[in-house]
């Protein structure tokens, strides 16, 4: 799978001028130093060598990967890139939630591929915090898109309190009970 970047990087609502991670093609030699981004295939073939480098490590996962087979290794990485080959292919949403919520991954989780403004809300709620967007001048609109809705119905790893739990908390407060934990 390709490591080619398709556009500017948006992280925590702001454009990141220079990506700290240098993509390294599968057949290219690893640079002596600096953060690198490698494919899942390369990671599988060169685990020792890659782990031995004293620099941040990023990995691109194919969206066909069952992350249950990878999750235990997630914490070794500073960056995990998940792919949307087409905006309508939503497998990476599940991968993202599993990595964040099941395996407790805390590093950067970046969306790449066909990333559209109208999906940022879904992506962020699923655990992504960085997005490769099509154009720099779209950054503002993209940053706004994650704020499309003031409330949420579902609890996810983003920590927002669901409508159900908000109502329950309000009810319990009114009735002098302790708030239920989310």
């Amino acid at each position: 799978m390709s490591l080619l970047k398709i556009g500017p990087l948006l992280k925590d609502g702001r454009l990141v001028g220079e990506d700290a991670f240098q993509p390294v093609a599968d057949d290219a030699a690893l640079p002596a130093s600096g953060a690198v981004l490698v494919t899942y295939a390369r990671w599988q073939a060169e685990k020792d060598q890659l782990s031995g480098r004293n620099a941040p490590l990023g990995i691109v996962l194919p969206n066909t990967l069952d992350v249950l087979d990878f999750g235990a290794e997630a914490e070794r990485f500073d960056l995990i890139v998940l792919n949307f080959p087409k905006f309508s292919d939503g497998r990476a949403y599940s991968q993202a939630r599993l990595l964040r919520e099941r395996f407790g991954y805390r590093g950067e989780l970046r969306a790449t591929g066909h990333v559209l403004q109208d999906q940022l809300w879904h992506m962020q709620r699923s655990g992504f915090d960085a997005f490769e967007i099509p154009r720099e001048d779209a950054a503002e609109a993209f940053a706004k898109a994650v704020k499309s809705f003031s409330n949420v119905y579902q609890p996810t790893g983003d920590g927002r309190v669901s409508a159900l739990k908000q109502r329950l908390a309000a009810y319990n407060t009114k009735n002098g009970r302790k708030e239920a934990a989310e």
Partner: protein, 552 residues
């Protein structure tokens, strides 16, 4: 009835604003039609043969009279003063302009309605028994669970770009009126030996090109685990459902290909890892939602109303209607009334704005201001005092809404077909109309008894032809409309896919064949109590096939 609070209202208002912006970006060309399509679809907007069609969600088929009047008004403002009720408990407008859509959605939001997720590859409007909360045979009101599912599935961040559309249906009665075995997920409420109520979870049912009856993945799921379990199924489907072929992308194909045992292992593993997490439903939260579906203030009635009994004896037309279009209520002295949208000659499921307003008025006066929409494309007044039935009949009759044909041969499900739909191969409405005409003689129709005829204009099976006692599927043969006939399908608790009787027939022959099939049934049945479906199950396909093809 469930009422939006500030959270729900803000959500639909923000949705309108979001869609207004999306339409604007489409009109300036900032986003391509390809990119716009899923956005409009998830707002219920289809591009059809002649115009845009807007599909409105009617969650679990429940409407207030105010909402029904609002739908009539929106039909007048943006359409041709009509609405079409569908098998998915939706309402469709057929003549909408793209540039009006955001305004129509804004008007809907004012009556706590929307078009969210009525299309697209996401979790669709959850459907249920139209008699929920009223039927005498109910274990528990399923609308509470439909509302919990509605909230969980609305804008679900993980499941808005699934391999294909996803439909969930719930029944709270052992007599399945929600066709749960032909949904992606069907939920049946059961009481176990310990007296606890929970769900049987059925997965992988569906019609269309490859029809399947759903399989039970879990016999009994405790209520508080419902959302965790649904999320587990959806997560497995999102990751492992096929995306290489549109026709093989539904969960039924995944279940079929990997087998229900493997599917169960995957889902149960996912469920085990998440069941005690944030999705576990606290008892008080369930109770808060259930409180909104509390029964209305019924009167304490006993015995049979004298007015009702008298009308039943003396007014023949009323008696016919009351026998056919009412159903036993759990509250003594009350009945459930089904309003037929199948008057002969009318497209099944269509209602004029005038009729919608009339039904809203009648509901206000006689049924606590509440209306239901059925998957068989009729309307329901769920709580009518038996003493009021004669007055309700009269009021409905004035608007052509009292056809006494519920469950009979002319109570046909039909998709819009080639008259409206861009996917159709043949027309459905005219053939439904012609068949209904054949059974206009009430004596014959009532003698035939329960007979479910379902018509689809293409393989996508929106008219549920696979599960019709008689199913009719429109096909295109060198530019001519032909119809394939299936027998023995059922959508109830004994769901079955119908058997094809033989080569397809042209329009005239197909209509004649329905007559022949019915006559064959009348000849073969053991008694007038044996329904068409029962006779078919007893004698099989051969005599019916012979009657149609030999006599032809």
């Amino acid at each position: 009835m469930y009422q939006y609070d500030e959270i729900d209202q803000t959500m639909v208002d923000e949705r309108v604003a979001q869609f207004r912006d999306q339409v604007a970006r489409r009109l300036t060309g900032e986003i391509s039609e390809d990119e716009f399509k899923p956005l409009r679809l998830q707002n219920g907007l289809y591009l059809q043969l002649h115009a845009y069609m807007l599909r409105i969600a009617i969650p679990y088929g429940t409407l207030s009279s105010r909402q029904l009047r609002g739908l009539a008004q929106i039909g007048c403002t943006y359409d041709r003063a009509w609405g079409h009720f569908t098998t998915r408990q939706n309402l469709q407008y057929n003549w909408i302009k793209l540039e009006d859509t955001a305004d129509a959605l804004a008007d809907l939001a004012k009556i706590q309605m929307h078009a969210i997720q009525t299309s697209g590859n996401c979790i669709r409007n959850t459907t249920t028994d139209q008699f929920a909360g009223a039927a005498h045979d109910e274990i528990e009101d399923p609308r509470v669970w439909c509302e919990i599912i509605r909230q969980w599935s609305t804008f679900h961040p993980e499941f808005s770009f699934l391999p294909r559309k996803f439909k969930i249906a719930v029944t709270g009665s052992p007599n399945d009126r929600a066709a749960v075995r032909v949904h992606d997920i069907g939920l049946r409420m059961h009481k176990n030996d310990a007296g606890e109520i929970g769900f049987e979870v059925i997965v992988g049912g569906g019609l269309g090109r490859t029809p399947f009856i759903g399989k039970t993945i879990r016999d009994f799921l405790p209520k508080q685990d419902l959302l965790s379990y649904l999320e587990a199924i959806l997560r497995v489907y999102n990751q492992f459902g096929r995306r290489d072929n549109l026709y093989k992308a539904r969960i039924k194909i995944l279940v079929h290909e990997i087998g229900i045992e493997t599917m169960r292992e995957k889902v149960e593993a996912e469920f085990a890892a998440s069941k005690d997490g944030a999705l576990k439903l606290p008892q008080e939260a369930i109770a808060q939602i259930a409180a909104q579906f509390a029964p209305p203030a019924f009167e304490n009635l006993s015995g049979i109303s004298a007015d009702y009994a008298n009308a039943f004896r003396t007014d023949f037309e009323f008696g016919l209607w009351a026998r056919r279009n009412t159903f036993k209520h759990k509250q003594p002295g009350y009945s459930i009334v089904t309003i037929s949208l199948k008057k002969e000659g009318a497209p099944p499921g269509d209602a004029s704005a005038e009729q919608m307003n009339a039904v809203a008025d009648i509901a206000d006066r006689y049924s606590f201001g509440e209306i239901r929409v059925t998957h068989e494309q009729n309307l329901v007044l769920a709580h009518v005092k038996q003493a009021d039935l004669p007055a309700v009949f009269k009021a409905l009759k004035a608007y052509d809404l009292a056809t006494p044909n519920i469950g009979l041969a002319s109570d046909i499900i039909a998709c819009p077909g080639l008259d409206y739909c861009a996917l159709a191969n043949a027309r459905s409405i005219p053939i439904a109309q012609q068949i209904a005409l054949r059974f206009r003689n009430w004596e014959r129709a009532h003698d035939i008894g329960e007979l479910k005829i379902k018509i689809s204009g293409c393989i996508n099976a929106c008219g549920h032809h696979h599960v019709g006692h008689i199913g009719i599927l429109g096909v295109d043969k060198a530019g001519e409309e032909f119809y394939q006939i299936t027998l023995g399908g059922a959508a109830d608790e004994q769901a079955a896919i119908g058997d094809l009787i033989g080569p397809s027939l042209n329009t005239q022959d197909a209509v004649d064949a329905i007559d022949t099939l019915v006559e064959t049934y009348l000849r073969l049945r053991k008694s007038s109590d044996e329904r068409f479906l029962d006779t078919y199950r007893r004698v099989g396909l051969a005599p019916f096939k012979e009657a149609v093809y030999v006599s032809a």
